[in-house]
Subunit: 249 residues, 2 copies
């Protein structure tokens, strides 16, 4: 192990970086914006007009401003493609800085996962379109990996958080909810089981309303809503719990 180099002043520090090469690097933010449309999970992509990778579809994003926080930046970038007020959830995924991930100088990318609830159809620019995640065209740069990271995050968080709230309209029936889950998870979801799990965790509650039957008949469906419109981790979901303390009294 090399000793502490005293020629190399500690940082992070003010402008006098003096840290080997003080060459700054370019930083961008990228957003994987997902929405379930017609029972199919879609991702928002825009078509590049200029080189490199002209004509390829790519994720919305752009260069981080000099005094901009990361979250602030991704919101600004996304605002160019979609009404960000429609975003029901936004969380950081990861950062990538492989030297050759884009042509030219190295660009570090910090990626975000955004969700749009299923009942809105935001206006998007002409170069922008929703693509089913299961049939994506060839994407620019490493953006296909980023989309996969977003899907994966969504899948797992549906299981141990109340993230479902960000996928669905304000109210919904259990059948509808199961269809949203199916679209994200990629497999069948039993309605009975889903109802019991979410109810037990206090994620959903009935509004009291029922939906009128369609013309094909059938019992009217009860209407539900999510209790909390913000992310909450299902506590005590993991194993190796702390021991139970004897209840007082």
């Amino acid at each position: 192990m090399s000793p502490v180099s005293l020629t190399r002043p500690p940082e992070p520090g003010p402008p006098d970086v003096a840290h080997g090469t003080a060459q700054p690097s370019r930083h961008e933010v990228l957003g994987v914006v997902l929405q379930v449309r017609d029972d199919v999970l879609h991702v928002l992509l825009w078509r590049r007009a200029l080189a490199p990778h002209a004509g390829r579809w790519s994720l919305p994003g752009g260069t981080l401003g000099p005094a901009e926080d990361l979250r602030e930046s991704i919101r600004r970038q996304l605002a160019e493609k979609v009404d960000v007020r429609e975003l029901s959830h936004l969380e950081q995924l990861d950062s990538r800085g492989a030297p050759r991930r884009v042509p030219g100088e190295r660009v570090v990318a910090t990626t975000y996962l955004g969700l749009v609830p299923g009942h809105v159809d935001p206006h998007v620019p002409a170069d922008t379109r929703w693509h089913p995640v299961d049939a994506l065209p060839r994407l620019a740069f490493d953006h296909a990996d980023v989309v996969e990271a977003g899907r994966s995050r969504l899948r797992s968080k549906l299981s141990y958080t109340n993230l479902g709230f960000a996928l669905v309209p304000p109210t919904f029936t259990m059948s509808e909810l199961a269809r949203y889950y199916r679209a994200c998870l990629g497999h069948e979801v039993d309605v009975t089981n889903l109802q019991r799990i979410l109810a037990r965790r206090d994620q959903i509650e009935p509004t009291g309303d029922v939906l009128r039957s369609g013309r094909s008949g059938g019992r009217p469906a009860a209407v539900y809503r999510f209790r909390h419109p913000t992310l909450e981790v299902t506590d005590a979901f993991a194993v190796l719990h702390p021991p139970r303390v004897a209840a007082p009294g």
Copy 2:
């Protein structure tokens, strides 16, 4: 969307995201290196010599090199403080870019969690020391938040992955293992339960050896090891599983 900045000649151009100013930003990496020492979780810190925050303890790290991948960079930075060959695990935590997180120009930090197994005592430089995470001094910048993020990640991953392998010596008894878990989780861990859970998940296996009793007597303890020295997620841990397919035959 603003046009491509033509003041930046069309080199093998970076993606023409061309969002606002193309001003680059400084990027650093930070590492939360944790180790259980004498049944207490510790974090590796070094004392800053120069301003800003001279004298404060801070996380190891430094500026990202111009052609360096993030993981490569954190390994290089950590190598100045500890023998990185001792690192049993290294994973990315998150990135932070708040404009005022450090004095002076804005610096984006990408943070990593590193783990050192309990049986080694790496040589560290004079300005560097292990601190119990439960009694930290005031840390520089936002480093206290970063330490907390690292602890939190470790805690949760102990529950749904085999990350324990990175905490412990190559072989161990169940009592020892439980002490490592206790140190990280911050609460009691039942040995019987721990043994059954890890065995059921095929994380650990007995070596066949037993340890001789200490001078206080007691039955000799069986020696175990982790099966796989690399991170694996306990699959089917989450809820909302895909339906069971009928076994063929």
